[in-house]
């Protein structure tokens, strides 16, 4: 086999052939995407953020409620509740009733839709009962029109139950709230819709703040790094001083000064968080300057373009992109934090932080009002952190061969 003369012919090699033998080359962006894609958490984060954007952007179109519309008959309703079967469903449509925390009765359809409050028919304090006229308004059937039901709160152990007129407990079942998928808040507003609007606010604040911080940081850090020398020294001393104090304190001061509101929180966030970005940018500029100097000294000619575009710029950009990505969860966190201590957007607008704050007092009786926004904050924080981590690894020039 080895005696095939063709095998022993000399071959020359062109540049490309050498490159090809030495290994395939991907472009920098492809490379980054390739590495990013390999991390399930990063891809998960990205998917979550995309879903979140859809949720915030288009969600409110489908809920059928507005974020400020109040319905005082449907206050503090949870997403899942116990429904009691109303007697006398002779017209064929079985209806149910839900007992609210304020001891009102709400008529519920078999599918879990909230229909209307059932009018109160009287108190029976002696027997610890509250009577309601349960007659079905829609099917004004004479035989049923007298139907009374009662909330019986006589037995502490058993809790509140719904009985018929005679005091017999009615059958019950667990139902999902179809009218308000996540329930309502203490003013009868739809939590899901408010959550979506909250997402708009939180995300807008986060993105705008991140972009402004990016710009300010790039300009400040860029000037500092570019000028170098004394100017650089002074500018960095200022950054040092600013970052000695927890930035939340500044945000609080600025919020106090500007009064709470959507714009103020953006201004407040934008006026302090650029310092980390400025540091990063300055560091990268200094590194670039050094490398340019080396390049100029070596005068590699045509290859320098290749080096600049494929190595220097991407290497410098990496940490900046990662820092910018990480600004987003920071902004979301600070915004919710501010809202939580009462310095966020003002009612009826809602951010996730204000929703948490509103729900805090009634946490024991209506935990769903707290869980929904808290979970939303957590998911968003996770998503952006995972993206940031993924980007950091994907962009890390150390791993790049």
């Amino acid at each position: 086999m080895l005696d095939n003369a063709l095998l022993w012919e000399k071959v020359g090699h062109s540049e490309e052939a050498m490159e090809e033998i030495a290994g395939v080359h991907r472009s920098y962006a492809q490379d980054v995407w390739f590495r990013f894609r390999k991390r399930p958490s990063a891809i998960g984060g990205l998917a979550a953020v995309l879903l979140l954007l859809l949720f915030a952007g288009f969600g409110p179109m489908f809920t059928g409620h507005s974020y400020s519309e109040q319905n005082l008959s449907f206050v503090n309703i949870p997403p899942r509740f116990t429904a009691w079967t109303l007697p006398g469903g002779s017209s064929g449509v079985q209806e149910y009733a839900y007992i609210t925390q304020s001891l009102k009765l709400i008529r519920v359809s078999g599918g879990g839709r909230l229909l209307a409050a059932i009018p109160k028919a009287g108190d029976d304090a002696q027997n610890k009962r509250i009577l309601f006229a349960s007659s079905n308004a829609s099917s004004s059937n004479a035989a049923n029109s007298q139907g009374l039901v009662a909330i019986d709160y006589s037995d502490k152990e058993r809790g509140m139950v719904l009985t018929d007129e005679a005091g017999k407990m009615l059958p019950k079942k667990r139902m999902l709230n179809k009218s308000y998928l996540l329930g309502t808040d203490s003013l009868g507003r739809d939590l899901l819709t408010r959550l979506m609007y909250g997402a708009r606010i939180s995300l807008t604040v986060a993105f705008v703040a991140a972009i402004i911080n990016l710009l300010v940081g790039v300009i400040y850090g860029g000037i500092s790094g570019y000028l170098g020398g004394n100017a650089d020294n002074i500018m960095m001393r200022i950054v040092d001083i600013i970052s000695t104090i927890p930035l939340t304190l500044y945000v609080i001061l600025i919020m106090v000064l500007l009064d709470s509101g959507f714009l103020s929180i953006i201004v407040a966030l934008s006026s302090v968080y650029w310092v980390s970005m400025a540091r990063v940018v300055r560091g990268q500029i200094l590194a670039l300057k050094e490398q340019e100097f080396v390049l100029a000294a070596k005068t590699i000619g045509t290859r320098s373009f290749h080096i600049i575009t494929r190595h220097l710029i991407p290497n410098a950009l990496g940490p900046i992109i990662v820092t910018a990505t990480m600004l987003i969860p920071t902004a979301i966190f600070v915004e919710s934090f501010m809202s939580f201590i009462g310095l966020g957007v003002s009612a009826p607008m809602a951010s996730w932080g204000t929703m948490c704050n509103d729900a805090l007092e009634t946490m024991k009786s209506t935990p769903h009002q707290l869980f929904a926004p808290a979970l939303a904050i957590c998911i968003t924080m996770f998503a952006f952190n995972f993206i940031g981590d993924g980007l950091r690894d994907a962009l890390d020039p150390k791993l790049r061969k």
Partner: protein, 308 residues
């Protein structure tokens, strides 16, 4: 060493001065003055107040008066509560916050360092994955969410701990955990990555090549090196724990500094906001200073009298 300390003290005062100046300017640029912010006061009452707080003095004079006060450790009177001083607020609130903070510092260090070390030593194993999972939770979930979740589960549902207050000693448990959540996770992660990084260093290979056992390599060579970056962030972390409890205090209804701060914010009590901010900043700067000194003492590479 002395030179270094003096230099650091000087920078400390420069920083504090900048903080005072900044807070002063911010709090004095409220449009329309502090008394017109909410409801309108009768003319003569407002005038009297302005006189009392010398608000019609030129700004620089007010600032110097304020600085003079600070030099006497006097943060001035409260704007909103007649006859009360900001110092009183701090005296009332700070002991509880400090107790909470110091407990959290202890808790953080006692758990985060071992967990970080464990995680690094078991790199890639289930222990590492578990610890890092929890640490990721702790870093990403805001403290107020942690606090409310803990309260819901352990106080409301399980009834293990009191919902509010620290009358009983176990009242501290949930606030301390909630307060430490972030720093604990952060320190554990830092400890892990720092130890992993150190374990990849050439001098660790040298130690191994001498025939040291793996545990001797970690204890005698890796740990001390790995602790250095952890020490550098300890200053801000400790200060953050001592001063950063306002949300936790609000949730668990603990009458600490944070509550005074949040109330002052809600009341737009400008002198109180200013005073407490400066107080917080002082603690922070002092902590960073102490840790820096400590850092110089444990790292022989930092020569005396010369900065890093």
């Amino acid at each position: 060493m002395l030179e270094y300390v003096l230099k650091r003290v000087a920078t400390m005062f420069v920083t504090l001065f900048a903080v005072v100046l900044l807070t002063f300017i911010l709090m004095h640029s409220v449009p329309g003055g502090p008394f017109t912010a909410e409801r309108k006061l009768p003319e003569q009452v407002e005038r009297a107040l302005i006189q009392k707080y010398k608000l019609d003095d030129p700004l620089y004079k007010q600032f110097f008066d304020y600085l003079k006060g600070l030099a006497r450790l006097d943060l001035g009177p409260s704007f909103k509560y007649e006859g009360r001083t900001v110092n009183e607020f701090i005296r009332e609130g700070f002991p509880l916050s400090a107790r909470l903070g110091l407990l959290s510092v202890g808790f953080t260090l006692l758990t985060a360092l071992p967990l970080g070390i464990l995680s690094a030593v078991k790199n890639g194993k289930w222990q590492d994955i578990l610890v890092m999972f929890i640490a990721t939770l702790g870093i990403t979930i805001p403290s107020f969410v942690i606090a409310t979740a803990l309260m819901y589960v352990f106080s409301f549902r399980l009834g293990w701990f009191p919902v509010f207050g620290v009358k009983k000693l176990n009242g501290y448990v949930l606030p301390v955990i909630a307060l430490s959540g972030y720093s604990l996770s952060f320190v554990a992660r830092l400890m892990r990555s720092s130890l992993l990084e150190v374990m990849g260093q050439d001098y660790i290979r040298t130690a191994r090549s001498k025939g040291l056992s793996e545990s001797a390599v970690i204890i005698k060579h890796a740990l001390r090196n790995a602790l250095i970056p952890v020490v550098t962030i300890l200053g801000p972390t400790i200060a953050g724990l001592i001063t950063g409890s306002f949300v936790i205090e609000k949730i668990f209804a603990l009458p600490g500094m944070g509550v005074h701060f949040v109330t002052s914010i809600a009341n737009r009590d400008y002198t109180a906001i200013m005073g407490i901010t400066i107080f917080y900043a002082t603690i922070l700067v002092a902590m960073v200073f102490l840790v820096d000194i400590f850092y110089v003492m444990i790292d022989p590479r930092i020569k005396l009298g010369r900065e890093s």
